[in-house]
C-alpha cells in the first residue's frame, strides 16, 4: 500500500481501495461514507460540479482530522480520499473509511470526519446549472465565521 491515508486526487476514487487501507484483523467494524454529486440541490438541476482545492493544505487538514479522531477514538483507523476537478452527477466526490473494534465508534468517528471536512478542509465546489454557475459557500448569509475561523471544538 503506497497510497497515503489522506489524499486529494483528480482521478475517480476506488471505494475498495480506500476501505483496504483501514481493514485490520483486530477491527471487526468498518463504516464508509461516500459523497456523490447530486442531481438536484434546493430544487435546482445541476449539470456538473467543479471542485478546487488548496491541495497541500487540504491533505494536511485531512491528516489533522485523522489525528483528532485518534485522540477521541484511539482504536480507530481512518482513510479519506477527496476528488477534485470536474465531476458529473453520480460521481464520487469523497470516501471516508473508518475501522474500529466496536461498531458504534466506527459510525461516530466517520460522522465526525465528514463534519470536520465541511469545516476546515480548503476545498470548494462550483455548481454548474443550465443558467449559470456559483461557488457554493459564497452566500455570506448562510456561511459565515463570526470568529474569523472555522468552528469546531478541537480547532486551535
Amino acid at each position: 500500500m503506497s497510497e497515503p491515508l489522506f489524499m486529494i486526487t483528480e482521478k475517480p476514487i476506488s471505494i475498495e481501495k480506500v476501505i483496504q487501507k483501514v481493514i485490520r484483523p483486530e477491527a471487526g467494524a468498518i463504516t464508509t461514507f461516500i459523497g456523490t454529486v447530486r442531481e438536484l440541490t434546493n430544487g435546482k438541476r445541476t449539470l456538473f460540479l467543479q471542485y478546487e482545492a488548496y491541495v497541500t493544505m487540504a491533505e494536511k487538514m485531512l491528516a489533522q482530522i485523522g489525528k483528532e479522531i485518534r485522540e477521541k477514538w484511539p482504536e480507530a483507523k481512518v482513510a479519506i480520499t477527496h476528488r477534485i476537478g470536474k465531476l458529473d452527477i453520480g460521481d464520487i466526490a469523497v470516501v471516508i473509511a473508518v475501522s474500529t473494534p466496536h461498531r458504534n465508534d466506527a459510525y461516530e468517528a466517520n460522522r465526525y470526519a465528514i463534519e470536520r471536512i465541511k469545516q476546515i478542509v480548503p476545498i470548494w465546489k462550483k455548481e454548474h446549472w443550465e443558467d449559470g454557475t456559483e461557488w457554493v459557500g459564497n452566500q455570506l448569509e448562510t456561511k459565515a465565521y463570526p470568529t474569523g475561523k472555522p468552528e469546531g471544538e478541537d480547532f486551535i
Binding site: E52, A93, K118, P122, I123, W135, K143, A144
Partner: protein
C-alpha cells in the same frame, strides 16, 4: 522581503490571479486583509487566512517568505 498570496474559488475569479508575489510585508494578517480589500475592492470579512498552510488569527504577525492563502468558506465533502 516579500510574501506570496494565494487566492481560491470566487476570490481567484474576482482578483483574476491565483498567486501574487507582494514586495512588501504588512505587520499582521489583519493589515494585509485591509490592504487587499482596498486594492481589489473585495470583501474579506468572511474569508479565513492560512499562513504557511495553518489557519491564522487576524493578529498573527507576518514575516518575509510567508505564504498567505485567502480561504473563502469551504464546501468540500
Amino acid at each position: 522581503m516579500m510574501i506570496t498570496l494565494l487566492f481560491f474559488a470566487h476570490l481567484q475569479e474576482a482578483i483574476g490571479q491565483e498567486r501574487i508575489e507582494m514586495q512588501y510585508v504588512p505587520q499582521t494578517v489583519k493589515e494585509l486583509k485591509q490592504q487587499i480589500e482596498t486594492r481589489y475592492g473585495i470583501d474579506l470579512r468572511h474569508v479565513m487566512v492560512a499562513v504557511n498552510e495553518e489557519y491564522a488569527r487576524e493578529e498573527q504577525q507576518l514575516k518575509p517568505g510567508d505564504t498567505v492563502a485567502f480561504i473563502p468558506p469551504v464546501s468540500g465533502g
